[in-house]
Symmetry: C2
Subunit: 216 residues, 2 copies
């Protein structure tokens, strides 16, 4: 299990500063969509430059213009870039091609992806799919606002699963009991904590207890 | 009918330079998703600063975090910002609220929006919906690659229609014959033309002939 720190609604300087404090306790660094849309690829470059040994996830949420956007991310130092599962299939396949060419990875964000689309996506191998309770669903309710987070399963496939969406110590416990996601994405649970380092350390220790218990 | 110049896959300097050449012949300026994701909100600020009298469309393609992203766009000087029609409804409604609060407008991008989602969206008034043949569908084919562009109709509603997707002189003729879209979005048909000014002037004169003929 990897802990992915999601950096959102911050300046690049704040994002770097928080990440410095919590770096020993997290595995992957997500440059959030809000940083990319506010500051562009400089956000990805800064985080990779400061933390060259961490895996950098560019949450670019591609919906079109896939080759261009994924080339931007990988040129800026990203190791993984995200595409929306509800996007046209032709765009998702273009993302997979670019990632494959660079030896990088694709994370498919399943937010608002229909059952039919999910069936098509689940044929892909070597991708990470992200079950995602969105910020707006968390903050404003809405059609899926109360359904909570679950760890989806893709039996018999080499699909890796990520889980995201306002994860707290409580929901983290539920998630690691329910399944064994490859990635747990934590944003404000760390970045908005009174003490981000203590919060990150708590998640880290819980994940390690789980790993020891399950001989990961 | 308004002609919206879409600026994509360019540096901010190139975008400003091309827009200077064609400004007399276009109505709205779209800061493309690729500019926003590559350079952040500085792209929107630069275009608004240089062309304060033009309507600026920030093609931010919001899919989540709607309030934050729409506030970014309007603070940077955008008059219109875009949201993906396939996004969770809670996010689209948040975009409408923010735009309403600022006296600005929302353009809903219908790319890959299902019939069911479209039925829900068509209840909104005072929005612009954009029928969109995506870059990837144009360049790589795919499930909708050959279906071409059509002007959708929303009878009896105050929905305004925009049409986008690799529009050339030929498809422009088809579009203005087929319907009377509020906005026709033209990108590479102008920006990649041998002479962008001549290309923009041709579109402009065709639109004006249409307007005179129809007493617009």
């Amino acid at each position: 299990m990897n802990i992915q720190l999601a950096l959102d609604r911050l300046s690049i300087e704040e994002a770097v500063s928080i990440t410095r404090k919590v770096a020993p306790y997290i595995d992957w660094i997500e440059v959030g969509t809000s940083l990319i849309k506010e500051f562009g690829m400089e956000s990805v470059r800064s985080l990779k430059r400061t933390f060259p040994d961490k895996k950098i996830v560019a949450d670019i949420k591609t919906f079109d213009n896939a080759v261009y956007e994924f080339e931007l991310c990988f040129s800026a130092g990203a190791d993984i870039a995200t595409v929306i599962g509800a996007a046209p299939l032709v765009s998702i396949e273009a993302c997979l091609e670019v990632a494959n060419r660079h030896g990088k990875q694709v994370m498919i964000d399943l937010l608002n992806t229909s059952k039919e689309q999910l069936d098509v996506l689940s044929k892909y191998e070597d991708v990470i799919v992200c079950a995602h309770l969105s910020k707006d669903q968390q903050e404003r309710g809405g059609e899926n606002g109360n359904s909570g987070l679950h760890v989806p399963s893709f039996p018999g496939k080499s699909v890796k699963v990520a889980v995201a969406g306002g994860i707290t110590i409580d929901s983290f416990t539920k998630i690691i009991k329910e399944g064994n996601p490859h990635v747990v994405i934590i944003g404000s649970g760390i970045t908005k904590a009174d003490n981000p380092m203590d919060a990150a350390k708590t998640f880290y220790e819980m994940a390690n207890q789980y790993k020891e218990h399950n001989h990961e």
